[in-house]
Symmetry: C2
Subunit: 475 residues, 2 copies
């Protein structure tokens, strides 16, 4: 619609929608030549580059489904996700060559495509989809859960579309908008910015890493209007900003990835940073609840109201709908909510209740319908914006032949918000270092327990369910 | 979502979303007591009032389908539309008592509900729909066509939703937006403003009639940011404005209802009125093509590009897709396009081609994909923003026992854009006044032929098809 508008700005260079289309069209031609067809799952292990955006758009053009892999995963974790998704083709880049050599040595059927050399295959004119079905799956992103096994969240084009329009109806769309993406494109936080850009015809300012000083400079010099952050990033931005203020052209700091401490919100209010608290998850294709501007002070600490037309309910312990101020599980419904997990159709009723997605998170609504999130899925640890599921760490620890049982909880950390710590019951003598060493390579660094406590019993109830509350007391 | 924002401003009074909901909730209770159930067709013959908006919202709350009747129709025309739609209940107001007494005397099964006395029936708690199906029909608006028989266009909630979001993606949404509605709520031009307000959470400034001085004052004093007009209104606004300029807070003049003369567009450019040419129809639930701001000068005279994600094609005479600059019939597709006409499912293929709606209008795309509309459905006359179909007038004229044949065309008119004139072949002596008198009461005033020419033959081809081109030459 608007070929001359800037689509992406990366490393000081502007790429218009026309250029982005042309680059993606060519990339689609190479991918098609490599055998990618409509509906194929194509794994991507890529950093935030222009090229990554081009690959993701090119997959949309020919209907390939992107399985987005977290860059921080170990070879073992990658293997698990590649096997689980039954993906036959992986697009990656040289920086990951070590991990990838381990992965490919164990997965025969995996075709490796290096970002750096895609264009070396012969080009063929791609068959571009004239229309996109809203029901078609666009992306798969893995998320763990209470069971410990990462599951591939199916995100359809419709999920992304409704997420983007719901966000627009809440935050508005201004002609001069540009959205700074310093969060990973492989996370829904980053991918959703790419989708909003494509749908709004808006400039996306893409950063390969998060550097507070660079971000502040770009917000000032290039008149960025919106940015997505997690609490850790916000704290670092406030530190770098010092007494300075952001220019008034900057209109929205979208804060996701877990609740922010009140002190951070108050500092933002003091410095006129228009902060929008949000609540969302991979399964809701980014924010599903956001605090509208007129309530940012009055309802400080609330995540806001659902984005139109999504719905939200609190279910009390007895299964009934909770009243105002009554805590319970947050369940959500809407066209931005996933239809389920990849290859787990048979487990549907575990995650859904009459069409509502059970988030596992705890919260309440006040009398005006504003959501206050009290606790993410009882056991979820959010560390620097990354979700960590204790069950996954516990699974790795207990796979050690000398360990009988283990329990993991998150503890507060000034830099990362939370970090995981482990309680271990051993069969023989083991040191903290040995346990940590054992986990390395099996778990991404951010998931490694920062501390290991040796205990004589892991608290469990009669049905062997781990009592994390007791671990917390023990601590 | 935003109960404290102003939903509607009418006659100097603000009504918040909370108040609008409460008023509509009560109205829904009365309508339910009167027997209105989900899926019922409820005709509305109402002027632009707060009450009208409340009735329309209350119908949405309980799932009633609004059959919106044009206020200017005669009793006979109303009878036709009420019969065709099989509507059992009509909500109207005292000002139409004369027409309505004629209508009700001839339609036994019609229950009349007077706007002024709805609230006199006992109230019952209405059953409010918790969710709205996008596929459900929301409104029916009658439009004539080349056949002369008005047809009820089905507009679903999905049609309205996608129209509103498509417009938002093009025009943007600003927090301080308010949209002035001085076009009828019974037309898609007005109803679509109501829908946008409900979906965006935006202030609608409702005027009962179009008064240029009042409009200019309100734009200045109340910081209206957007207004919908047709060419006739724009000309009158320019006249009233004189050398004055609109405040810079006013950001969009959405011009629909037929192409505007270049002189009008140029005057708007001169006076910094941000004019957005649009192209749309009842069947597309308002604008489907709009000229984006950055092209308003470069592509002056174009209606723009389709609103995302609607599609548009030009079909050449031989049925193939036309190339750039090649004229042909405009066909459109998208989630804002009607699924068909009420009770005319069997005629579907007359109006649709492989899922594309055949507009009957003629135009071309330039090399950049911008639409230039050359001619509305060959015979369509647009007079002051109202569509007039010659076949309907011809039908009335030839029903006169002394008239053998007739043909109607539109001629240019400085005030209304176009007005209809008739060519008549009589069996006996008749005066121009007699013909005009005969049409009165059978046709709304704006459809009455402004001139009657008596001729010795109505030009028709071998298959008896009227040759309007020859009528034009005869004139």
């Amino acid at each position: 619609m608007t070929p001359n508008r800037v689509a992406i700005r990366f490393e000081g260079q502007n790429y218009t929608y026309k250029q982005l289309y042309e680059l993606s069209y060519r990339k689609a031609g190479y991918l098609q030549k490599l055998g990618v067809k409509k509906g194929d799952y194509v794994a991507c292990l890529l950093k935030n580059h222009l090229d990554t955006a081009v690959v993701l758009v090119s997959l949309q053009l020919i209907g390939g489904v992107a399985v987005l892999l977290n860059n921080r995963l170990t070879a073992e974790e990658l293997l698990w996700q590649l096997s689980d998704s039954k993906t036959g083709l992986l697009i990656t880049e040289r920086d990951f060559v070590e991990k990838i050599s381990v992965v490919s040595s164990q997965l025969d059927r995996l075709t490796l495509v290096w970002k750096e050399t895609i264009d070396a295959v012969p080009f063929e004119e791609p068959v571009i989809l004239e229309e996109i079905e809203l029901q078609a799956v666009c992306t798969v992103m893995y998320t763990s859960g209470t069971t410990g096994n990462p599951k591939g969240v199916l995100q359809t084009y419709g999920n992304h579309w409704w997420s983007a329009t719901g966000s627009a109806l809440n935050l508005g769309i201004h002609e001069e908008d540009s959205w700074l993406c310093a969060v990973p494109l492989f996370h829904i936080s980053g991918y959703s910015i790419l989708m909003r850009s494509l749908i709004y015809g808006m400039k996306l300012v893409l950063h390969d890493t998060f550097q507070p000083d660079k971000v502040i400079k770009v917000i000032k010099d290039e008149k960025v209007t919106i940015m997505s952050v997690v609490t850790t990033m916000m704290i670092r931005l406030l530190d770098s900003l010092g007494e300075e203020k952001l220019p008034t052209t900057f209109r929205c700091m979208l804060l996701g990835g877990g609740p922010a401490p009140l002190s951070v919100l108050e500092q933002c209010v003091e410095r006129n940073i228009p902060i929008y608290q949000t609540y969302g998850m991979t399964e809701t294709s980014s924010q599903i609840v956001t605090l509208a501007p007129e309530y940012s002070i009055e309802k400080l600490g609330s995540a806001g109201k659902p984005l139109f037309p999504s719905q939200l309910k609190i279910i009390a312990a007895d299964g009934s709908e909770a009243g105002a101020y009554q805590s319970g599980e947050i369940i959500v419904k809407g066209p931005n909510v996933t239809k389920g997990y990849l290859h787990r159709e048979h487990e549907h009723e575990k995650y859904f209740l009459d069409g509502w997605f059970k988030t596992g998170d705890i919260g309440y609504l006040d009398k005006d319908g504003f959501l206050f999130v009290q606790d993410r899925r009882s056991d979820l640890i959010i560390s620097g914006g990354e979700n960590i599921y204790p069950a996954e760490i516990e699974g790795v620890i207990t796979s050690h032949p000398q360990i009988e049982d283990a329990g993991v909880i998150g503890v507060a950390d000034p830099k990362w918000g939370q970090v995981p710590v482990a309680f271990v019951l051993t069969k023989a003598d083991l040191t903290e270092e040995e346990v940590k060493e054992y986990c390395k390579g099996k778990l991404a660094n951010y998931k490694l327990p920062k501390k290991v406590y040796f205990v004589e019993q892991i608290p469990r109830n009669a049905s062997r369910k781990l009592l994390r509350r007791v671990l917390r007391e023990m601590l």
